[in-house]
């Protein structure tokens, strides 16, 4: 933390001078080929940029400082990971149920970080301005670092808990993971400006706080030293990514008044797409953390309503408004986590993590946090499931759900003004019917139907027979379709999924922690 070893003799450059020399000073115009042929995607979207030199990274981070600080972050992180492994840190978490949040994170979010790495590597190539290109290059390296450190951190858990053995295959194949996967694939197949608005602004600036702040603080609260360390190490890069997102949107809006309408359209779309992906985070906060830090509703209020509200107050000077349907996201905060967790409870025989019913204590917390909805709509359903379980009739949903053509989430949500009615929209396109979970998703489809008709919808693919291993033979006598789909997912039925109660994870945890089957603590074994 001293500033004496910058390696320069004589006068030290100011931050602004150094930034100018080491970003813009590194750019050049091509001479063998015209610039518009080299940067050939820039004109596709109708966005007009007149002067790339107006782009400036407010952190004024140059490559030398970047490597210096990233190296220091890595040294800090790996020292903690060593300590975590050497001290059996996995035994210090609040409860083994907690590990299921990591299973979801590792299979859903870690591969998304890898897709973000690919996206920024390509974007850095597409922007002719060196300020923008260098910021994208740094972010491409950051995202790759996130993937690697997450795999490294979670590998300790993989030695002791089920369901963490194959995150990349699961991300490609497992039905609910098509939600974050298709989000990134939608972004990466867009034009360069849509990509950067989608990821840097809508995801990083508006929504990423919801993933990393309450969840990582929750990891700390649940004793997970490894996750809080990689989480905050990643997040220290996110602050820079968020700043890139805000800088980028201001830059594009200031360049040409005609850009405003296009940017607003991207914002409307990507806010809604991102919000839908975050449904998974809502149930992590409300149902999956054994020791809870804040409810989804509280988190949405702080990080979206207040923080996003301040942001859009500021951006209104460019003529930008809050994204469409944001009010609906606030109204739905009363329901989102309850409906999402309910679906995973119903389909947990086809997932790669364990579920459980909330305890009396958990339900008291949910009533307190959701006074308008929990006791009225969701407690009775949980009590019903409890009775069924007590009678040995644990309910699993045996059908394949109808999926939203845009966000790929099953149609599990209700109408904003009536929690007893399923929200279902339909659009006909070229003689085919398409289904949607919400007005927001329907509008996204209707803007670009030809893109979304080609969506890889897991339920459809299973029914078409595309989700079996190459050696499976659906024509063979006694072919077990469900078991074969699970084999294709690389999920071990019963071991990786279904109820936590009675699982191998639970039995191991009790053994390691010296707990008797009824949960009471036994005297520790003699040394």
């Amino acid at each position: 933390m001293n500033n004496t070893h910058t390696g320069q003799a004589g006068k030290k450059l100011s931050l602004k001078e150094k930034y100018a020399l080491m970003t813009r000073g590194l750019g050049w115009d091509t001479s063998y080929e015209p610039m518009d042929k080299v940067f050939d995607q820039l004109g596709l979207e109708g966005i007009r940029i007149h002067d790339w030199d107006k782009w400036e990274d407010p952190f004024r981070l140059t490559m030398d400082a970047y490597w210096k600080y990233q190296a220091e972050k890595e040294r800090k992180l790996y020292a903690v990971l060593d300590a975590f492994q050497q001290n059996n840190g996995h035994l210090n978490i609040s409860d083994a149920r907690y590990v299921n949040t990591l299973k979801l994170f590792f299979t859903g979010i870690t591969p998304a970080e890898y897709n973000a790495h690919r996206l920024f590597a390509m974007l850095g190539r597409q922007f002719p301005g060196p300020g923008a290109a260098i910021a994208c290059q740094m972010q491409a390296v950051d995202e790759l670092r996130h993937v690697q450190t997450q795999i490294h951190s979670i590998s300790q858990y993989n030695k002791y808990f089920n369901g963490l053995h194959d995150h990349s295959v699961m991300n490609d194949r497992l039905w609910y993971l098509s939600v974050p996967k298709s989000f990134f694939e939608d972004a990466i197949s867009s034009g360069p400006f849509e990509q950067i608005i989608a990821i840097s602004f809508a995801l990083e600036y508006l929504l990423t706080n919801l993933v990393f702040m309450p969840f990582m603080s929750g990891a700390a609260y649940n004793g997970d030293m490894a996750t809080v360390t990689f989480g905050f190490s990643s997040q220290s890069d996110e602050a820079r990514h968020m700043t890139l997102g805000l800088e980028c949107i201001k830059f594009v809006l200031e360049q040409d008044p005609g850009n405003v309408e296009i940017i607003q359209r991207y914002l409307d779309k990507w806010f809604w797409r991102g919000y839908k992906v975050l449904g998974l985070v809502s149930m992590m906060l409300d149902y999956m953390l054994p020791r809870k830090v804040m409810s989804w509703k509280e988190a949405w209020e702080i990080y979206f309503v207040q923080n996003g509200g301040s942001l859009f107050n500021d951006l209104s000077r460019y003529g930008l408004r809050m994204p469409r349907h944001w009010e609906q996201s606030v109204a739905e905060a009363e329901h989102l986590s309850h409906q999402t967790w309910n679906s995973f409870y119903n389909f947990s025989d086809a997932a790669a993590f364990h579920v459980w019913l909330p305890s009396d204590e958990d339900m008291a917390w949910l009533s307190e946090k959701y006074p308008n909805t929990f006791d009225q709509h969701y407690r009775p359903r949980i009590e019903h499931y409890r009775r069924l379980q007590a009678e040995g009739k644990r309910y699993y949903n045996p059908s394949l759900p109808m999926l939203c053509q845009t966000c790929q989430i099953p149609l599990i949500f209700t109408e904003g003004d009536d929690p007893t009615r399923t929200s279902h929209r339909e659009t006909e396109h070229e003689g085919e019917k398409y289904h949607f979970c919400s007005d927001g998703c329907q509008e996204v489809f209707e803007q670009q139907p030809d893109k979304y008709v080609s969506a890889w919808l897991p339920a459809h693919q299973i029914l078409q027979g595309n989700c079996f291993a190459p050696d499976a033979d659906p024509q063979a006598a006694g072919f077990q379709a469900e078991a074969e789909v699970m084999r294709y997912f690389h999920v071990n039925p019963g071991q990786d999924n279904m109820d936590y109660e009675g699982s191998q994870d639970e039995a191991n945890w009790r053994l390691w922690k010296g707990l008797s089957p009824d949960g009471a603590s036994k005297a520790p074994p003699a040394a």
Partner: protein
């Protein structure tokens, strides 16, 4: 546009590196509110928050490079303006 009071925030990891930073923020921004959460300290302020290198150095009793904030920063909001001497977060309206 909407009735939200515009606040900016900075969130820092809870550790010894950030103690003087938080103290400096409190000293230079009397309206700032400090929330201490598990592993994380979030500092909210109405409209504007300034971090001054000189204040951190005074508390530390040694030289401090403002860019070292990158090591411990978790998140922030607002427009960022950074020089060698200060980092300002602000909303323009």
């Amino acid at each position: 546009m909407n009735p939200i009071q515009s606040t900016v925030f900075m969130a820092l990891q809870t550790n010894d590196d950030t103690r003087p930073i938080i103290e400096a923020l409190q000293r230079d921004n009397p309206a700032a509110v400090v929330h201490r959460l598990p592993a994380m300290v979030k500092i909210d302020a109405p409209g504007r928050l300034v971090l001054r290198r000189s204040t951190v150095e005074e508390i530390l009793g040694t030289a401090w490079d403002l860019q070292a904030i990158n090591l411990n920063l978790i998140s922030l909001s607002g427009n960022v303006d950074e020089t060698e001497d200060e980092m300002v977060l602000h909303w323009n309206r």
